[in-house]
Symmetry: D2
Subunit: 259 residues, 4 copies
């Protein structure tokens, strides 16, 4: 075919650097390997972007999708730096970001009946390469039960409780803890963890356990923060807790940042 004009490669006279340019909201099947586990098949929502020099008009968007196709079968925290290297090189940029958000499943046993079921979480994985240095942000969104300490203390019977959610994000390099380790850590900080299958004897256990472990949203994020203080090899963390309040039509939230 004839040579088609390359409009993206035109020089640009405005001389404005673009911090990031790329694609997002692209859905793609991936294989994600967590720590030493077998890879898990899942579907990621993907964003990929690079920096653009002030003197170039546009980037080449199709290269992102081609690169993703090549790498999607082997996504892991440890493998992220190499993917970012390739992205920066192919897109001819000094900076590159890859962001994936995907459901992650853990098969759990109910506490009394030992009935099993898959419980779903969300992983937020982002790698940023800038000026030759790579930082990885690994986040988990973990649903939990929270039972209100104030409601319990002032009421003669019962206590309001609800589904809550913690988003824990840590920053570091490819030696970060596993997704499962982070999820377990968060679940231990709430009034109770959640399950996909609970029979009656299990429901009794989780109800009483939640009543015995009341937490405000402030307690929830502080409990997680206590455990982050001792975690080696992380450059920083952000803990966000949210309660879908059962007595209000709005949510309560709290944020701790550290590291």
């Amino acid at each position: 075919m004839d040579k088609l004009e390359d409009t993206q490669n035109e020089p640009d006279g405005r001389m404005i650097p673009i911090h990031r340019v790329g694609i997002r909201d692209l859905n793609h099947p991936i294989q994600f390997q967590d720590g030493e586990d077998e890879p898990q098949s899942t579907i990621a929502r993907v964003g990929m972007s690079v920096a653009l020099s002030p003197d170039v008009r546009g980037t080449h968007m199709s290269r992102f999708v081609t690169l993703l196709s090549e790498e999607a079968e082997a996504i892991s925290v440890a493998g992220l730096p190499k993917v970012l290297d390739t992205m920066a090189r192919r897109l001819e940029s000094a900076a590159a970001t890859l962001r994936l958000e995907f459901p992650f499943f853990i098969t759990k046993e109910a506490p009394a009946s030992k009935a099993t079921g898959k419980m779903d979480y969300t992983v937020l994985l982002e790698g940023v390469q800038e000026d030759g240095e790579t930082t990885i942000h690994l986040g988990v969104r973990v649903p939990v039960t929270t039972l209100c300490p104030c409601s319990r203390n002032i009421s003669e019977r019962g206590a309001h409780n609800q589904r809550g959610e913690v988003v824990l994000t840590i920053a570091g390099d490819e030696g970060l803890p596993s997704v499962q380790e982070l999820i377990r850590l968060v679940e231990a900080c709430a009034s109770s963890e959640l399950y996909s299958v609970l029979k009656r004897p299990d429901e009794k256990v989780v109800t009483e356990q939640a009543y015995d472990n009341p937490v405000f949203v402030e307690d929830l994020v502080r409990n997680v923060a206590m455990r982050m203080r001792d975690m080696p090899g992380i450059k920083g963390y952000r803990i966000e807790g949210e309660n879908f309040e059962s007595i209000h039509n709005h949510n309560a939230f709290a944020v701790v940042v550290g590291g």
Copy 2:
């Protein structure tokens, strides 16, 4: 200006009638009058559509938006039939549908402290004119507290509870009950209603009240159904309850249809 070709008015040889064609996901400020109350300013998400004869290629979309602009200051259940008449006439169609979904606020007093705050609900209002007959569907989405009867009965202390939601939709003519009447009716069927402001003495009241009125999602919709049986002037109803379970990461739901 010159006469521009009217592509929409071309004859269409495929001879396929179009059930509905129009616009949707249009945001527009409206004034909604509920019963005899003062009109309330709110923002509606609007859909408007008509039927299209098998022999015409397209409808004239801009007429919907112009009509909405004219009518938006005076939306009410009672006024819907006239708007539908105008829509059918201007779009030259035998059928017309107008659908509005919008937040609706009620100022409520907390049960003990009497502190006040605005509580938000959602109204779903749809009018359908077909072959000269008009039906109005009026729906309310009402957030509530539900406390699990099973969890309470089997546990030595506490009971899991959560935010739930009821969508009650009734069908009839312009003499339907008010939005506020429907909301109050639903709230009386749950373990507790919700509030935007609750001080400590109020929190004690709602916690104990919820504990004393446990409902499964099945109870919730049946309680509403009991009250719908006695309601005069409605052609049908649909009651959908949903619990955002505090012990699971999925929801429980139940549906009753009647009338």
Copy 3:
């Protein structure tokens, strides 16, 4: 352990039948087999429900999740009736519904460069068993390009176009056409199909092809309807088209129902 009270099995005096009760918004990994293809790993959003007799207080929610765990590795249109049988039997109900919504991927070649990439669609699969009879609803959500015939005809250069979407749902039994057949059928009815990877020569092809095949949202759904008329073995269909208009901040839509 001691015998725990079975609150769900209590008799209910309100005598109100519940049309459907169950779970929804549960995320679960599945293997979906389309026609004779290899199964595809994906993540489904699942709803499962049964009818409940007027004289029973509640259903047993944990049984749904256990059943899903057992069946998730082998989901197909052909296998749905058996799953519904099992659900109705285990939940002791005369009616059962299973609904799955999940991303589905097809590897496509760009029209000129033949570069490949995975394109994502959404499948909506619902089976309903009622009084011994089973109906399957199979839907596909297909993104497309639509180019406005009116804009093209009245303008001296260019024509507004945009991303649109068709949701085609057909009803029938386990002999329904494959998901891929439905997607291909819909894509042939738009101004152009979409791709995940397009290089410059491809972009030229799809731009000119869209310009040469303008369709209103009305044309889009009628084009699909023409092809449904000839499709054997379906009991009914519903075609919904929507344009995310590039010149408005609202959408245009059209619906054809038939069969």
Copy 4:
């Protein structure tokens, strides 16, 4: 009534400061005054939060809602610092954040027919008070048309175009430009602005105008950045552009940060 235990005011031994704690996803009607205009009635999604000392267990959530009720009738950029003062004082905190996101409407005339209609935008208004200093972030989300320069240059006829969106956020004090000024500025940087009502002569104008003003998503954000350079009284800005590509099922985006 008896004195109820104040669990929130308990001392906390974990000694972890909480960056922010409060409420969010609360819907509330507001009156928003833009510049010198008449106030506009709208519905905001509100977040309110404060910092919490390491030695206190919890904040008092109900005070946020009460404060919002008092202030909701008079929201403006200029009035934000006083609301933040009150929030910090009542919640006894050294830091306070108020965030509102709400639809904002401008009545626009179509370019040829002069037909009028209300066009909707989104305003993102956030005030942060920290250590006695207040910063205001004012953002507008503006939908636009973008037409691809590459597609136009390589194709013999037509050019793919689509709905896009710019989120422009500026930081400064209560002397920031008006919402309308920001919206007009953004709209002038795209291939065409959007309208709610367009008749055929208008559609011809916007189609040809878009064809004559092609912009990549990179051009879009750079065009806005050019105008931000000259804007007085702002401490910083962030420009995010996104195209809902008509030829792909994913989006292209670009970000410029400055100031």
